[in-house]
């Protein structure tokens, strides 16, 4: 019996080895869920074109930075710039983080499609997230309590939102609900009539309604010319100046194909 099991395991191992192809080297990406769609698409395109394996994990910008500092990823994808503390920690470990902009992203403020509110000012959004405005009636909507949705502390999107809208160091209301990815913010907002949340532009679809900030909707044009107030660049971080295949990968957003992929995914080329 044991012999049979051993034989079975060996056979399985052999078939699996036969089907698999040993990789020459691997590019490992870790970080932001917002950059995720771009990273995944680039990865598929790159491994098909150059035969180099690229793996993508989406565990949040903060984790991406940590992975780069620990040397466990080649490229950290981040939806915010590295903080001074992170750069200092990296230097201490002999890692020299170098940023490269992938694309621009408008942080879309989203509500349920049934919500009649079309536009909010930055000050109103800030008040909602600080907890001073708690009812949609106060901003011209129906008399319902606002369900505030934020991202987890590890998220670059959350940090960008804080920096751009409510100001550094200001506390978000304790009654805000935390979701751990763009996708889960979208599904929460699309199923909750009175919710408000923020999403990377590439994640917006018909299930949620984008509202204008200071009267301006996030579009390719408004994000590119900077008139949309809540936009930020998305980054690839490497340890030192990249070279070889990693450089080729980092430079994808500069190629025609890369630009088209970014556009089709709903992100904005720089």
């Amino acid at each position: 019996m044991i012999k049979k099991i051993l034989l079975f395991v060996t056979l399985l191992a052999l078939t699996v080895t036969a089907t698999g192809i040993a990789a020459v080297n691997t590019i490992v990406l870790d970080g932001s869920t917002t950059v995720g769609p771009v990273a995944k698409t680039f990865a598929a395109y790159f491994s098909k074109k150059y035969g180099i394996r690229v793996t993508v994990s989406e565990s949040g910008s903060g984790n991406g930075a940590k992975s780069l500092i620990n040397g466990s990823c080649t490229i950290a994808t981040m939806s915010r710039a590295m903080k001074d503390a992170e750069i200092a920690a990296a230097r201490k470990k002999g890692v020299n983080p170098v940023a490269s902009v992938v694309a621009l992203d408008g942080l879309a403020m989203v509500v349920h499609p049934a919500n009649p509110v079309r536009s909010l000012t930055k000050a109103q959004i800030s008040s909602i997230y600080r907890g001073t405005i708690t009812n949609w009636r106060e901003v011209g909507g129906p008399n319902t309590r606002i369900v505030v949705i934020q991202r987890e502390s590890n998220s670059g999107t959350e940090e960008s939102f804080k920096d751009l809208v409510i100001g550094k160091g200001v506390q978000i209301t304790g009654s805000a609900e935390t979701q751990s990815s763009n996708g889960s913010v979208k599904s929460r907002v699309s199923t909750t009539l009175s919710a408000i949340g923020f999403l990377g532009h590439g994640f917006v679809d018909g299930s949620v309604k984008v509202i204008a900030v200071n009267g301006i909707l996030p579009t390719v044009a408004t994000v590119k010319n900077g008139s949309y107030p809540v936009s930020r660049p998305l980054y690839f971080y490497t340890n030192g100046q990249p070279s070889g295949p990693v450089k080729q990968f980092i430079d994808l957003p500069k190629t025609v194909e890369g630009k088209r992929m970014i556009t089709e995914l709903g992100f904005i080329n720089r």
Partner: protein, 448 residues
């Protein structure tokens, strides 16, 4: 207690027992039925000609002659749609500026709805993303998109004091008096001829790699990764667990240290799996550096630590259950202690040990938290056995979570997610079934 009370108690206990079994069965049904019905939909579904085009282009599968005749026949019906669109574009140019502006936006919506349904229109440049290269590959999705083309969803916010209500407006009404009005009934009546729906069995869902982050293709890398992780964990945990159990039951002297070790083992069995995940990252990857970054080996080691307590406990119980007479008989024949353990006790305990091991194998296959930071990636190709020391892998449990929450188009690919869930449930079920069969066979053999 008199007999009457006892009877009542007895009956009510029976009723509670039966009731809880029924509740359990119902709960199981509520969980399993949607998994099975929706999961099967990933393999068996009504596929359109777009699905067959995709298979041919991306996987070189299918019969090219049959396909080209299908494409030709669907194109005959499609060309009319395209003609109507170009016709309206020309008409648009002749309109007065105000009217033109009004229609232009509405037309853009119609155009993208047709694109979503039938794929890129003639004259469009070929999209880079595979998801935009084809129209709807599944008939039920095509019907949804048809609805999007025929009706526009609007929100009635006439009363600002309440939330708006959704209502649908026929798009055809908006184009009354233009040439485009004919498009809507035409597409509605001829959609079947344009997409040629046909019952499809797509086994490739199990054996193919994914195309364009799970929009098309299958889940083979995930299935393979799950097997690698579970079997890898077992390779580490099984020998260690059995040795530890032998030590606990045969060699350890009862005392403070021994009871501490045992209770430590029991506590370890109750530690939440995410703790093992963080431990795996900190210990195996950052400290031990078993691999540079996430890898199958790091994940397997983490899972091994997670299932070790269960295996030790099961093996201990199995060894203790071996009748004392076996041991006495062996020792009385002059056998040494080690020889007795290796030739008499372990074979007799094997069915019990294996059951514990295979149930742990099922747990290792299904756990998400330990592999998030140590082994799992959201996209990656299937890896060879030589790569387990250096490469991470997609795995079913993690990718189900990823598709449910993080994927940018989660709502469009629910069938893939259900398919993955069904695959995972089937794998675990298969492992548990094989445990039962194995156990039965070995006990039969032992009884002679």
């Amino acid at each position: 207690m008199n007999i009457g009370t006892r009877k009542i108690l007895d009956r009510s206990f029976t009723a509670v027992g039966i009731g809880s079994i029924i509740v359990m069965a119902l709960a199981l049904m509520f969980v399993v039925v949607p998994i099975v019905t929706n999961g099967i939909g990933a393999v068996f579904f009504t596929g359109t000609v777009e699905h067959r085009k995709m298979l041919f282009n991306e996987f070189k599968r299918g019969d090219s002659q049959g396909l080209s005749s299908e494409v030709a026949s669907s194109d005959r019906y499609r060309s009319k749609v395209y003609d109507m669109l170009t016709g309206f574009e020309a008409e648009l140019e002749t309109m007065a500026p105000e009217k033109k502006k009004e229609y232009k936006e509405k037309y853009a919506q119609v155009r993208s709805a047709v694109q979503a349904l039938l794929g890129p229109l003639p004259g469009d440049s070929t999209p880079m993303l595979t998801r935009f290269k084809y129209g709807q590959t599944r008939w039920e999705k095509a019907e949804e998109k048809l609805h999007d083309l025929l009706y526009e969803s609007k929100w009635d916010n006439s009363n600002p004091n309440v939330m708006s209500k959704e209502y649908f407006v026929s798009r055809a009404i908006g184009f009354e008096g233009t040439s485009l009005v004919k498009l809507f009934p035409y597409v509605k009546d001829n959609l079947e001829k344009m997409l040629l729906p046909d019952f499809t069995v797509y086994w490739g869902f199990i054996t193919d790699s994914s195309v364009d982050s799970h929009f098309f293709g299958g889940i083979w890398p995930e299935i393979q990764g799950t097997f690698f992780l579970a079997i890898g964990a077992m390779l580490f945990a099984f020998p260690l667990g059995v040795v530890a159990a032998v030590y606990f039951t045969e060699y350890a002297k009862p005392g403070f240290l021994n009871s501490m070790l045992r209770s430590a083992n029991s506590t370890l069995a109750g530690v939440p799996s995410i703790v093992f995940g963080m431990f795996g990252l900190a210990f195996f990857i950052n400290t031990m550096k078993v691999s540079e970054s996430k890898s199958v080996i790091a994940g397997a080691l983490t899972l091994a630590i997670m299932i070790l307590p269960t295996i030790i406990r099961a093996a201990e119980e199995a060894i203790l259950a071996v009748p004392k007479t076996y041991r006495e008989a062996s020792l009385s024949l002059g056998s040494t202690k080690w020889n007795t353990i290796a030739t008499v006790i372990l074979p007799a305990a094997l069915p019990g040990i294996l059951t514990g091991a295979v149930i742990s194998l099922g747990r290792a296959a299904g756990e998400t938290a330990p592999i998030i930071f140590t082994a799992a990636v959201s996209v990656g190709s299937a890896i060879g056995l030589a790569d387990v020391f250096s490469s991470p892998t997609p795995a079913l449990s993690w990718n189900i979570y990823n598709l449910a929450s993080e994927h940018e188009a989660a709502s469009q690919i629910r069938h893939v997610q259900y398919g993955m869930v069904l695959a995972l449930v089937s794998i675990v079920l298969l492992l548990n079934l094989s445990a039962i069969v194995l156990r039965a066979r070995i006990s039969k053999k032992l009884k002679g």
